[in-house]
Each structure stands twice: as structure tokens, then as C-alpha cells.
């Protein structure tokens, strides 16, 4: 398939997942500000902004700022509105491979954003977060139901999995790095949608190391870092098999596959206490892994050929 289209699909996967996860994080964050009587709002907001990669100083941080930066900023790909608009732009250029239903779903989402924004101003942001979660589920649900499992599907899911690794590790960071202003593990689990699966798995008691373990290592919960890495790895293996022959004897063919596989084995074979003892470093590493893998995918599949540049000849 065309590299350009593949890239669009990859980024649709990433952006939609990002919007979904950001909505989940913000929903829990705002609800917590409302419900926790002892919270230090500025610290909590500053921490959240820092961990989402857009730090500001403590005095400037408040809920208004958090929502502006992470929900409504049209120009930033880290905000919900920005990510959904970017996903729709990518879809516009790839309409011939996307099913009409997926395109329509993304377009409807995009068109509804201004109205959702007004609603959020009036009734509080919860309705927006809920809307975003539902629409993301719809996009991926339609993809699941209407796309053939060919390369286009693989790129979409690869993007989604890599983004999930990144976002879940950021969510974990909000807990372990924020000190007093940190949300409880219950909230972290709730924001990833993992609360009820966790309760059923560990029968009710939320304790730190189990919760961290669940979000990092659980094989069966689809939002855990491990499960997402495994899925990304499977997509990469499949993509490479289609393009590379004779590479089945030694190692793996692609750089991205190597990076993702290494991260996965690190999680799989490191003992949990060791992992938790250096959790902040591991989480940062995971986030950088995603960037590196994303860059490698881009290099391998989307821009294998350096773009041609036309240089005007010197007049002479």
C-alpha cells in the first residue's frame, strides 16, 4: 500500500487512542479535584501537565490551564481537540482505504467538537470526556467490524498499541511521581478502565505494587503496557513478514520490531520488585521506547526513500 496512506492510518490509530486516554485521565483528574477535600489543586495540575509533556510553573497551573492545554488546544496534538482534528485530517487524505463508516464517524466527531465544547463550558467537562470515549470506541469498533486484516488494519492497530504503551506509562507516572498530590491507585486504575477488572482479579484490595503490576504486566488486560507491547510486536512481525524474505533465521528484520521486542522482554523477564524499585526510570524508558519505535516505523515504512528535494541550478 502507499506509504502516505499507511502513515495516515498509523497516526489515526495513535491520535484516536491519545484522545481517548487523555479524556480518561482528565475525567479522573477533574472528578478528583471535586471530590477530594484535601487536594492541592495547583500542585496536582502542575504535575499532570509536566507528566503529559507540557510543563508549566506551579503558580500558573490550575484546572483552567489543564483543560486549555490538554482538552481544547486546537493546535496541539497532545490535546483532545487537537488529536481528534488531526485524526480527521489524516482520514481525509486516506478516504479510499478507510471504510465510509470510519470516515463518517471521525468526521461526525470532529464536527461535533464545537458544540461539545459549549456544553462542557456550561455543564462541566464530564460530558465532553464521555463523548470522546464513546466516539473513540466507535471508531475502533467500526475498524474491527469493517476492515480486512490487511496492512491497513495492521498500521492502525500498531499506532493504537504504541500510543497505549505511552499513555499507560504516563498514567502510572502521575501516580508514582506526584508525591502528596498524587491520585490514589484506585483513581489511576479507574482512569485506565482497569478498576473493575483489577478488583475481580485481585478480589478487592487495592495495593500499590499489585496495581502497578497490573497496569504494567497483566497479560490479559488490553490496556496494560505489556499487552499493548505484545500487540504492537505482533503487528510489526506481520508487517515485516509481508515485505522481507529470508529474514526468518536470525533475529528480526526491523529496527522497530527490535525496540518493541526489547521493551517487552524487559517487562516480561525482569522480576517485579526490581521493576518497581526503579519504576520512574523504567516508565520514562517506556515512553522513550515508544518515540523511538514510532520513529523507526516512520523510517522503515513511510519515508524509506528520502524525500526528493529540487534544487534550482545556479544560474550561470
Amino acid at each position: 500500500m502507499l506509504s502516505r496512506i499507511a502513515e495516515s492510518l498509523f497516526w489515526i490509530g495513535r491520535y484516536v487512542e491519545r484522545a481517548d486516554d487523555t479524556a480518561r485521565i482528565l475525567d479522573v483528574h477533574t472528578q478528583r479535584l471535586v471530590e477530594d477535600p484535601w487536594i492541592d489543586e495547583r500542585r496536582a495540575c502542575a504535575n499532570l501537565l509536566a507528566l503529559m509533556g507540557s510543563p508549566v510553573s506551579d503558580d500558573e497551573a490550575d484546572t483552567e490551564r489543564v483543560l486549555a492545554a490538554l482538552a481544547f488546544d486546537r493546535s496541539s496534538p497532545s490535546s483532545i481537540v487537537g488529536a481528534l482534528s488531526a485524526a480527521r485530517e489524516n482520514a481525509r487524505g486516506a478516504r479510499e482505504v478507510l471504510s465510509a463508516e470510519i470516515w463518517e464517524s471521525l468526521n461526525v466527531t470532529h464536527n461535533a467538537l464545537p458544540q461539545q465544547r459549549t456544553m462542557a463550558r456550561r455543564y462541566g467537562p464530564h460530558s465532553l470526556f464521555r463523548f470522546v470515549r464513546e466516539r473513540s470506541a466507535m471508531v475502533f469498533g467500526l475498524a474491527d467490524a469493517t476492515m480486512s486484516r490487511d496492512e491497513s488494519w495492521l498500521f492502525l492497530i500498531l499506532g493504537r498499541s504504541l500510543e497505549r504503551v505511552d499513555m499507560t506509562s504516563r498514567m502510572l507516572s502521575t501516580r508514582v511521581l506526584a508525591g502528596d498530590a498524587a491520585p490514589s491507585w484506585t483513581l489511576v486504575l479507574r482512569s485506565t478502565g482497569a478498576y473493575e477488572p483489577y478488583l475481580r482479579t485481585y478480589r478487592g484490595v487495592v495495593d500499590s505494587s499489585r496495581a502497578a503490576e497490573f497496569l504494567l504486566l497483566d497479560r490479559l488486560f488490553p490496556r496494560s503496557v505489556f499487552a499493548s507491547l505484545e500487540q504492537a510486536e505482533a503487528c510489526l512481525a506481520e508487517l515485516e513478514r509481508a515485505t522481507v524474505r529470508d529474514a526468518t533465521r536470525v533475529g528480526v528484520a526491523g529496527e522497530a520490531h527490535r525496540i518493541v521486542g526489547r521493551a517487552r522482554t524487559m517487562l516480561e523477564f525482569m522480576s517485579t520488585p526490581d521493576l518497581l524499585a526503579q519504576l520512574p526510570a523504567r516508565l520514562e524508558e517506556l515512553q522513550r521506547t515508544c518515540s523511538a519505535a514510532s520513529a523507526a516505523v516512520t523510517h522503515r515504512f513511510f519515508t524509506e526513500q528520502a524525500p526528493q528535494v529540487w534544487v534550482p541550478e545556479e544560474a550561470g
Binding site: W11, E35, P37, W38, G53, V176, R210, A212, S291
Partner: protein, 542 residues
């Protein structure tokens, strides 16, 4: 200026929000200031959103076989920190006294020997079960969960209206009310410090685990429900989900050789604690109603053998009997050697001829309650009843005085409530919930405030078309030096790092491929050029 509270009339009763017209009590000052500028239509729109939220989430109460959304009023009820202290102490005290009484009733019976309570009160109670005699629960707790119904009298004092020690329902609405309110009206919360309610399931689970038979390392807890047609099924499901335990029906359980198990895809799995929401009579067809199909045969024998814990214990009904209620203050003094913190609502026993005669003469000024009724059924409010009802009542009371108690009508306090786009006073009560884990009685801060939506209505029971309110207990600033999770049961391990561990420059999120503006422009130029050419073509014939 016309505002929401215009025309809000204060009656004889205590009003929760106002001491005088337009003058809110201190606990309500913040709420009043936030609500006043909102106009009626806006508030009504929010209320619609609130009920929409409830419909979507399926927060329902099955009434007369039909699933109905549980009405949640948009104006919260606020309880100040000092007031709450009194309720908390009073409820915990009462639960401890009733625990001691139950242990006595199903054990030595010292309280009868000391002539504090006549034995006949207990033996004539429909909820006294000889089957429970001598059954000692593993950690001594019989009242794992209780709901103590309180009302506020004209002077503003909380009084106990009744105790619920069997399976009090309503706690799920406390949890969902808070979640829905904070989504729909976040700005109301901004100026308050409100004690959270969402750790109730965690506390409940800890208490249930603590009550497991002593030789079990990691007890399996289940919630036993009568099934989806039960009026409180929503609550059973919510508690099971939030505790992460199985919600079972009687047919899922099997008891063999005094061991209770549940049928799973992996074969039978042992069950150690059953939090049952089924009445005693239906729990075990071996001992109680043989026609019960929602219970589990043999479960009581298993409990007697110490192989399973039933929570709440069988036979608790004897202590929340409305006749025994009149002795509870004496029980507090007898068992704890303390004065009761919370007074009973003024109640008369119909145990001597004179009182019966007096009650029969003044039926039209009293409230008559059947002693074993629940859910507001059978209550006759004298001043509002018609002649025929009173005559029928007199016949019944004369026939079986043991079945009735009489109370002076209490002017239930009123609380501002949104009715038809305006705020009007409506009567409220309060049911705080207490969990006893054997070490401590923990009272959920807040509890369920029920509101009688029809004007002047005094019965606020949820099975009689009542609604509810989110109940806020204001908290003091957190004491310095006490960490957030001071409760050791909550977290066994901690993974703590400080901001110093924060990476120097946190990784930013990957931006996508840049929007190629140059490309977009040239795509547009192409289009523009096409149009220019065609325009040119038309304009200049050659």
C-alpha cells in the same frame, strides 16, 4: 431580585438550610451562595441532565415489579462537621449496644435475668429464631452492616426513628448520588471540603473478610441476592462489582458436608463469607420456609459448624423490632454504661391496659406503626387518616396490641428541594450506614437522605415514591502529619518516589507528521489556477 429561593416558606419544623427566611445556617452558606445566582430554568436543565445520567447508568429501584429510576434531587443536604460528630458517635454507640444485646439473646440471656428487657419481648418477636441460638460468629460480629434511621425534630436534634440490622438498603445510592452530582454540578463542590464516600465497598469487603472463619487465609466473599427482580438488585450488583466479588443467587450455591461452595466453570469453589441480601425466612429451606427457592439448603448448619460466615447474622431482626426499639436507650446504659448520644423518637409501648386505652382514645393524634413492618407499610398517621381507617385500626390494635407501637408525630425537618422549577421545602430523613469489622464501628460520612417529594408528605421511604439527596458531610482541614491513607488496612505496600525522581525533561508526546502547509497551498493553487483558466476561457473568446 427574583431568585430561586423567593417564596420559600418556613413552617413549624426545623429547616435544614434556613434559620430564618433568607438567612442560611453556617454549614449551608457556601451552597446558598453558589445556588442563588443560578436561575430556575438553568437548574431544571441540570436536573434533567442528572436524571438522564441516572437513566443511562441504570440506577434504578424496582417498585411494585417495575424498574424505575431513583429520583435524585439536585439540592444537596449538608451536615456540618460538629453535627456529624454527634451522629457518628451516637450511631456507633447504638450499634455496639445492639451487638451486645444480640450476643446476649442468642447466648446467656443475662439481660433477661437482670430484668432490663422482659424475655417475652424477644420470644414474641417474629424475627427471633431459635435456630440461631448458640451460633457464635467467628469474630463476634452479627451486625456487619446497619442503617440507623434518623430524623430531626422541631428543636433541630437528631432522633432515632428505627434501627435496621438485617439488610439495610440504600448505600449504593449514596455512592452513585455523589458521582452523578460531581459530574453535573461540579461548581457546587468547588467551595466545600466534603468527606468522600467511595471507599465504602473497600471497608465493607475488609469487614467481611475479617469475619471469615478463622482458619481461612484468603477468604472468598460472595454477595447473595434474591435475583434481578428484587427491589434492591441494583445495589447488590453495584456492591459486588465494586468489591470485586461474585454476585450469586441461591441456585449458584451448593452446600455439602457443611461446606458451602459455588458452581463455577472450574468446578466447585469454596465460599467463606456470604453477604446475604435475602431475608432469614428465605435463606435456608432446611430451617426456615421449606418452599424457598432463592436460598441455599444447609447454609445455616455450615455456619453453625464454623465453616462459613453469614453476614448479617441470622436472627438480627429481634434487635430491630420496633417494640424492642423502646428499650434501646436502656440497653446502651446496661451494656456500655454510657448515656445514649442519640435519643429515640418519643414512642409508647402498648404493654399495659392504660396505655392501650389512652392510645385508642387518641388515635387521631398519634402515628401507629406495626412492629414488624418495613418500607413504610401499614403505618397510619393519625392526624391525616380518615375516620374509617381509624376505626379499622382501632379494631386491629385492640386485637393484638403487641403488634403495634405508637409515636407522637414528629415534625420532620424540611430541606430545600427542586420541585417544578422552584425550590420548595420538603421533608427529609437520614439513614447513616455503619460497618462493624469487629475492631471498630465505622460510619459512612453522610448516608442516605431520603426526601418525600409530594408536598407535606411525611413518609419518606424509597418504596413509597420518595427521592433522595446527595448528603455532604463537611470536613475539617486534614490534621497535619496524618497521611492520606492513615488506615492501615487500605494499602500494604507503597511505591513512593518524589518529584526529585522526575526526569529532567519529561518526554513530550510525539507530534504527528507536520501538516504540510506548502503542499496544501499548492493543492489549492492548482485549484485556483484551474478556475482562473476557465474564467479566462469564458471571458475572452478567441
Amino acid at each position: 431580585m427574583a431568585d430561586l429561593f423567593d417564596g420559600y416558606l418556613l413552617g413549624q419544623q426545623w429547616d435544614e438550610m434556613f434559620g430564618a427566611v433568607g438567612d442560611p445556617r453556617p454549614a449551608y452558606a457556601g451552597l446558598f451562595a453558589s445556588l442563588q445566582p443560578i436561575d430556575g430554568e438553568e437548574l431544571a436543565a441540570r436536573a434533567d441532565l442528572l436524571s438522564q445520567t441516572y437513566r443511562d447508568a441504570g440506577v434504578t429501584f424496582a417498585h411494585a415489579g417495575e424498574e424505575q429510576p431513583f429520583p435524585l434531587d439536585i439540592v444537596p443536604r449538608v451536615i456540618g462537621a460538629e453535627e456529624w460528630d454527634v451522629i457518628e458517635r451516637g450511631v456507633a454507640q447504638r450499634v455496639l449496644a445492639l451487638e451486645a444485646f444480640l450476643a446476649d439473646v442468642y447466648g446467656a440471656g443475662q439481660v433477661f435475668a437482670d430484668r432490663v428487657v422482659p424475655r417475652s419481648v424477644v420470644t414474641t418477636s417474629a424475627h427471633f429464631h431459635r435456630q440461631a441460638h448458640g451460633l457464635v460468629p467467628p469474630n463476634g460480629v452479627r451486625v456487619h452492616v446497619s442503617g440507623i434511621d434518623l430524623v430531626r425534630d422541631e428543636a433541630g436534634d437528631f432522633r432515632v426513628l428505627e434501627d435496621n440490622l438485617r439488610s439495610p438498603s440504600g448505600v449504593s445510592y449514596v455512592i452513585t448520588n455523589r458521582a452523578a452530582m460531581s459530574q453535573v454540578l461540579p461548581e457546587l463542590f468547588a467551595d466545600h471540603r466534603i468527606q468522600p464516600v467511595d471507599d465504602y465497598p473497600t471497608r465493607l469487603l475488609a469487614a467481611l473478610k475479617a469475619s471469615a472463619p478463622s482458619n481461612v487465609a484468603d477468604p472468598t466473599v460472595v454477595v447473595l441476592t434474591p435475583g434481578v427482580y428484587n427491589s434492591a438488585y441494583f445495589e447488590h450488583a453495584l456492591l459486588a462489582r465494586q468489591m470485586g466479588v461474585e454476585l450469586v443467587e441461591g441456585r449458584d450455591l451448593v452446600c455439602a458436608g457443611n461446606q458451602v461452595s459455588m458452581r463455577t466453570t472450574d468446578g466447585q469453589r469454596r465460599v467463606d463469607v456470604i453477604y446475604r441480601r435475602i431475608d432469614d425466612e428465605f435463606l435456608d429451606p432446611v430451617h426456615f420456609r421449606p418452599d424457598s427457592v432463592i436460598g441455599c439448603a444447609g447454609v445455616l448448619n455450615a455456619a453453625r459448624a464454623g465453616r462459613v460466615t453469614i453476614a448479617n447474622a441470622v436472627g438480627n431482626g429481634v434487635a430491630d423490632d420496633k417494640l424492642l426499639f423502646t428499650w434501646v436507650p436502656d440497653l446502651v446504659r446496661y451494656y456500655l454504661g454510657e448515656e445514649p448520644v442519640l435519643q429515640n423518637a418519643e414512642t409508647y409501648r402498648l404493654d399495659d391496659r392504660d396505655t392501650v386505652e389512652w392510645v385508642l382514645e387518641s388515635l387521631d393524634q398519634l402515628v401507629l406503626k406495626p412492629v414488624d413492618g418495613s418500607g413504610g407499610k401499614g403505618i397510619v398517621i393519625g392526624p391525616r387518616a380518615d375516620q374509617r381507617t381509624l376505626e379499622e385500626l382501632a379494631v386491629k390494635v385492640r386485637a393484638t396490641p403487641r403488634d403495634w407501637i405508637a409515636q407522637k408525630p414528629i415534625g420532620l425537618s424540611t430541606c430545600p428541594t427542586l420541585v417544578g422549577g422552584r425550590i420548595a421545602p420538603r421533608h427529609v430523613d437520614l439513614r447513616p450506614f455503619a460497618i462493624n469489622d469487629g475492631g471498630k464501628v465505622w460510619v459512612l460520612p453522610g448516608g442516605l437522605t431520603r426526601v418525600a417529594l409530594p408536598e407535606g408528605e411525611l413518609v419518606v421511604n424509597s418504596s413509597q415514591g420518595g427521592g433522595s439527596k446527595d448528603t455532604w458531610v463537611l470536613s475539617r482541614p486534614r490534621p497535619v502529619g496524618v497521611p492520606e491513607d492513615a488506615d492501615p488496612a487500605r494499602d500494604l505496600t507503597t511505591i513512593e518516589f518524589t518529584a526529585a525522581d522526575l526526569p529532567e525533561d519529561p518526554p513530550t508526546q510525539d507530534p504527528g507528521p507536520p501538516n504540510d502547509n506548502a503542499l496544501a497551498q499548492s493543492q489549492q493553487q492548482q485549484q485556483g489556477a484551474d478556475m482562473a483558466v476557465s474564467a479566462l476561457g469564458e471571458g475572452t473568446p478567441c
